[in-house]
């Protein structure tokens, strides 16, 4: 990445600037690909940009960063996404 010689504080782009925000989740979205009609509503409305869109407009969820808000499940008109409680973290 190009660095700029400036006399001020300058931040550079980084995916995961606040770490793996997937660890914030209490509920986890589960996608049923068989039900999905590729409408892309979950993709456009995910606040985190954690629904990935493939070339054929199928979607998948990036659990590294998904914060578990449930917007995708609420906006999916065919109920292809449901929210499930995260399993308790192993000690």
């Amino acid at each position: 990445m190009k660095k700029y010689p400036v006399e001020t504080s300058l931040s550079y782009p980084k995916k995961g600037a606040m770490g793996k925000t997937g660890s914030w989740r209490v509920f986890k979205p589960i996608l049923d690909k068989k039900k999905c009609v590729k409408c892309l509503r979950c993709w456009i409305f995910c606040p985190e940009g954690s629904i990935h869109r493939e070339k054929d407009d199928s979607v998948s969820i990036d659990y590294d960063f998904c914060k578990g808000c449930g917007v995708c499940a609420n906006e999916c008109n065919v109920k292809a996404i449901i929210m499930e409680r995260e399993e308790a973290k192993k000690k």
Binding site: K15, T21, P47, C69
Partner: protein
């Protein structure tokens, strides 16, 4: 434009500091898809300055200049002038500010930039509060809403920032909402294609600020439009058009749903329902909304 035609590229990176269910990041993703990589953002104090995340990293993959609360439009004017001097007409300059930084603190700088004819897009994402500092009332907070500075409900009605901007007679002014991606995208694209000052306001329902469940962010925006608490419109060269559902409301082709259908899901209005219904204030809200729409019909409806 259909969702399928929206660009895949993201200029807001994952793993940023936004709350789960944040409407600002929904809006930013759509706005940056419409504006593309050749965009320079100016961001004053607001949630987005936090969403940028911690130094020395940023979650934005486009240049962002942070500036004081009151100075978004002034800063954008400076950036625009500098880029013009360098002959960089390929770069879109956009200010992205909250309602506190627009309706209240940044109003003077905004009015100045609009009046000077600065070639930029001013985008206000309106969550009807100062959310970044912990939910204080702003000029955009609706009547009767709880905030930490209006503990028994705001006693004043919100002002209409869009109409204040209209009085500057700039080439393009629009109101949209994160729940209508096609509407939002189209308006941002249109603004990008027009020279001179452009103002776009985006309603952004905030789960922690409005006290609703974080999976309902998009639904709260839809209900705001259905109930007439918010409206979708654009005004190009002083020609006003209401859009989508708001057009049907203006032309009385559909009946306005009661505001109650929108506020009953929001904890910030719970004191209007518990321990008993506050009929007086609920009535005042409906009457005020009817009054606003009658005014819209007189000013902007076909006569």
């Amino acid at each position: 434009m259909a969702l399928k035609d929206f660009p895949v590229d993201e200029c807001l990176l994952q793993g940023n500091a936004s709350c789960p269910g944040c409407p600002a990041t929904v809006g930013l993703r759509m706005v940056l898809k419409a504006l593309g990589k050749k965009t320079f953002l100016v961001v004053p104090a607001c949630c987005t300055a936090v969403i940028e995340s911690l130094y020395p990293h940023t979650s934005f993959d486009v240049p962002v200049m942070n500036i004081a609360f009151e100075a978004a439009a002034a800063g954008a004017s400076g950036v625009e002038a500098a880029l013009r001097q360098q002959g960089r007409s390929d770069i879109t300059v956009a200010a992205w500010a909250g309602d506190g930084g627009t309706y209240d603190i940044g109003l003077q700088a905004l009015s100045g930039a609009l009046e000077r004819g600065t070639n930029f897009i001013y985008i206000c994402y309106n969550n009807q509060i100062y959310s970044n500092t912990g939910i204080q009332r702003s000029g955009a907070t609706p009547y009767a809403a709880w905030t930490t500075t209006t503990v028994s409900g705001k006693t004043e009605f919100r002002k209409e920032m869009g109409e204040i901007v209209l009085a500057h007679h700039i080439p393009y002014v629009a109101q949209t909402c994160i729940s209508y991606p096609e509407d939002l995208y189209g308006k941002i694209q249109k603004a990008k294609s027009i020279k001179g000052p452009k103002y776009i306001e985006i309603l952004a329902p905030c789960p922690p600020g409005w006290r609703f469940s974080m999976d309902k962010t998009i639904e709260m925006g839809r209900l705001a439009v259905d109930t007439g608490a918010w409206s979708l419109w654009e005004c190009e060269n002083d020609v006003m058009t209401f859009n989508g559902k708001s057009k049907l409301l203006l032309e009385k082709k559909v009946a306005r749903k009661p505001i109650e259908d929108w506020i009953k899901y929001q904890g910030r209005f719970s004191h209007l329902f518990k321990p008993e219904r506050d009929e007086e204030r609920l009535k005042a809200i409906e009457e005020h909304t009817d009054h606003l729409w009658e005014r819209y019909r007189k000013c902007y409806g076909k006569i």
